[in-house]
């Protein structure tokens, strides 16, 4: 490309075009106005979604990134605009979501003077960004933008924040853009050590009770097919983490369910019976491991992971493979022996039968009067032919939805896993809808989280995003209430909510909806929500004091998972 003189703002927008950006979430303000002015000329190339709050913008970008596999782009102004991004940045960091956040900043002569709307967003975001950088001259823009995209999207993906001073936005440069292909101090992927693959394959071939853990790394590295081939060849049962959900079809015969605190009975109980754990693209979150000192004591551990800092961080491994999951699994597939592990599978089936009788049937096909979250989730999954994108908030409904929604396709599950951000769902669902415009997006949200970012109903309405909002309303901060019931002697300290008329609020934003509180109306109500042309808010009044089981109590071993209080 030949060099031409343009403003820093124009260079920034052209850089985004070079990286194939088609959607930006943002909120304008004084310090980012030149960039917005430059964006005005690109309304055919790029869609800008004006959210109602910067937190909505960044969760929107997260939803877009998780569903599309492309980086989410966020614009915000300086000071409060930038700080309002922080929750989403932290969320994206822990959930490995690629984001490029552009924040405006006061002019460079004013830096450090407590100028109007000045905040040290670079300093503040250091602990929660994969990388950040402050641009103070227009000449830096193309190279830094290229680096930002490279860093955000390679290796273990994550959020990058680029802070651009106003004078850098106004200033001119001779623009030339080259995509970043390497950085001396950052090598996101190195070659796989074949000895480690051989060592892993030997352990797999010798194991009698092996168990595979499927993490989000499978989705990030597009290794869904390799995982399926691997388990079908070896006969190894596979369990998924919260963010690994949808990487493997729910009904695959070797899929044994979810790990962790509210995961399934079998994979939790039998983790401590397994003689080999093969963890791929997951990080042994404390919600998965429970009490680490009692965790998987009979098992050797193979950890396939692209982030070297995750290896041996929580659980000591016997063999670690520092690699992209897809490449490692391809090599492993060639080195492992066919097997079926029938007896080992039967142990999972026994656990499934117990869980089914004690928990699942009661959740999905209840006979008691109040509606359950489980039956609502089951019907929504069935009505969308198990082909929808599910976006959830945080709390009881999240665990229920993750347990009972069925998936056929990868990248169908968007949730805030590591940070557990309430308010995530509604904005993330609009991002998911933009990332997958031809798919049905169901936003399953609780009444607490819904009210944290309820203003994004305005963004959904303005952009005519046909998100199906399934509000599971129990007039409680349900998960905290459950813990208060179980561990704080039923002292329900400040968890009951006196909620507004949500349907009237939705209509005020121009979103149709209705409320259902009777079982005989639930099926038709969910059908009506899905069939509606455009966004829809279905409020489902569920039983007030329902609990999520099974549960691994805090500090307990995963094998001490309980099925009922």
């Amino acid at each position: 490309m030949t060099a031409k003189k343009i403003t820093g703002s124009q260079a920034l927008i052209l850089s985004l075009m070079e990286e194939g950006v088609d959607t930006i979430f943002g909120y304008p303000g004084g310090a980012i106005m030149p960039i917005y002015d430059a964006l005005y000329d690109f309304d055919k190339e790029v869609k800008h979604i004006l959210t109602r709050h910067e937190q909505g913008a960044i969760h929107g970008a997260q939803g877009y990134a998780r569903v599309s596999g492309k980086p989410g782009i966020v614009f915000a102004t300086s000071g409060p605009g930038a700080t309002n991004l922080m929750t989403g940045i932290a969320d994206a960091m822990i959930d490995s979501t690629p984001l490029v956040c552009i924040t405006g900043q006061v002019a460079s002569p004013l830096l450090g003077t407590d100028a109007f709307q000045e905040s040290d967003i670079v300093g503040m975001s250091i602990p929660v960004t994969k990388w950040n950088y402050q641009i103070t001259t227009p000449e830096e823009i193309p190279e830094v933008m290229a680096q930002a995209f490279y860093i955000a999207t390679t290796g273990r993906p994550g959020p990058v924040l680029i802070d651009v001073t106003k004078d850098a936005q106004f200033g001119e440069l001779e623009y030339k853009y080259e995509k970043c292909k390497k950085i001396r101090s950052y090598v996101p992927e190195t070659s796989i050590d074949p000895h480690q693959i051989k060592a892993a394959a030997d352990l797999i071939n010798e194991a009698k009770k092996p168990l595979l853990f499927v993490g989000q790394g499978i989705i990030i590295s597009h290794a869904e097919e390799e995982v399926r081939t691997f388990i079908e060849k070896t006969g190894i049962p596979a369990a998924w983490t919260l963010l690994g959900l949808s990487a493997l079809p729910t009904d695959h015969r070797l899929n044994v369910g979810m790990l962790g605190m509210h995961g399934n009975y079998g994979p939790n109980k039998l983790t401590n019976e397994a003689d080999l754990i093969i963890a791929v693209g997951m990080r042994f979150d404390d919600r998965v491991t429970g009490k680490v000192s009692e965790y998987a004591k009979k098992a050797k551990i193979i950890h396939i992971e692209i982030d070297p800092a995750e290896i041996d961080k929580i659980v000591k491994t016997d063999v670690s493979v520092l690699a992209d999951a897809k490449k490692a699994l391809k090599m492993l597939i060639d080195n492992v022996n066919p097997n079926n592990h029938e007896n080992w599978h039967n142990e999972f089936k026994k656990c499934d039968a117990i869980e089914n009788e004690k928990v699942i049937q009661k959740d999905l096909y209840p006979t008691k009067p109040g509606l359950t979250m489980g039956e609502a989730v089951r019907i929504a999954s069935e009505k969308t032919n198990h082909d929808a994108v599910l976006v959830t908030d945080v709390g009881q409904h999240q665990m229920v939805a993750q347990r009972y929604f069925h998936f056929k396709n990868s990248r169908s599950n968007v949730t805030s896993g590591g940070l557990g951000t309430m308010g995530f769902c509604l904005p993330a669902s609009m991002g998911a809808q933009l990332g997958a415009p031809n798919r049905t997006v169901i936003a399953a949200v609780g009444d607490g989280g819904f009210q944290m970012t309820i203003q994004e109903l305005g963004t959904i309405a303005q952009n005519k995003l046909p998100v199906k909002i399934m509000l599971l309303n129990n007039n409680f901060l349900g998960m905290v209430r459950q813990w208060q019931q179980l561990f704080f002697d039923k002292r329900y300290s400040f968890t009951e909510l006196h909620n507004p008329d949500f349907i009237t609020i939705g209509k005020g934003f121009g979103i149709e909806g209705h409320t259902v509180d009777k079982r005989e109306d639930l099926d038709a109500s969910i059908q009506k929500m899905i069939d509606h042309d455009g966004p829809y808010l279905l409020e489902i009044k569920i039983e007030k004091e329902d609990n999520v089981f099974p549960m691994v109590p805090t500090g307990a071993s995963v094998s001490d998972i309980i099925l009922e209080p």
């Binding site: 670079v122 300093g123 250091i126 602990p127 994969k130 990388w131 950040n132 402050q134 860093i151 292909k181 390497k182 950085i183 001396r184 101090s185 950052y186 090598v187 190195t190 982030d307 070297p308 800092a309 290896i311 041996d312 961080k313």
Partner: protein
């Protein structure tokens, strides 16, 4: 078991990197005993020498999380036995005792220290060594009421004859060139 470790970190010279690195210790609630930063023998490569008291497992985790920072080239951790290390200390002592006896001069000679500056009011003494050496000199000089005292962070070199960073950078450059 906790013991003293020396972490050496090689990095690009980017604004904010010091915060990124020290933040790794903050998150792990691990105190930094001393920290020295300067340009290394390799042009453009900066070296952090960080001393911490922690377990071997924690030292490993600190290094891996420091290496995860984008602008860090490489980080190592070592026990004291693996390193040659020094600190420098400066002592400002009133001049009068020197006029009155040769005690301070004897202490300075015995400690292998040297006098940097003499004024009509004070004398500045410099001592290079391990912390216990510089601290011992402080105790002796403080008999004469040390007016000011400062000890630097540690600087350290590996005893290993192989320059690990050079080897690492050669491999890294070859790998990056192979991407072209």
């Amino acid at each position: 078991m906790k013991e003293e470790y020396i972490l050496t970190v090689y990095s690009e010279n980017h604004i904010g990197l010091l915060t990124r690195i020290t933040n790794v210790f903050t998150r792990r609630k691990t105190n930094i005993d001393s920290l020295t930063v300067s340009e290394s023998a390799l042009q453009g490569v900066f070296k952090f020498t960080i001393v911490v008291h922690c377990t071997d497992a924690m030292a490993k985790k600190l290094v891996s999380q420091i290496e995860k920072q984008i602008d860090v080239l490489k980080a190592f951790y070592h026990t004291n036995d693996e390193m040659i290390f020094q600190e420098i200390a400066l002592y400002k002592v009133p001049i009068e005792p020197i006029y009155e006896s040769d005690k301070i001069e004897q202490i300075v000679r015995r400690a292998g220290a040297r006098i940097l500056e003499i004024t009509k009011d004070y004398v500045v003494i410099e001592k290079t060594g391990h912390k216990e050496d510089t601290q011992a000199l402080f105790e002796e000089l403080n008999e004469f009421k040390v007016m000011q005292f400062i000890r630097s962070g540690r600087v350290a070199l590996m005893r290993d004859p192989i320059e690990r960073l050079s080897e690492f950078l050669k491999e890294r450059d070859a790998f990056l060139t192979s991407l072209d």
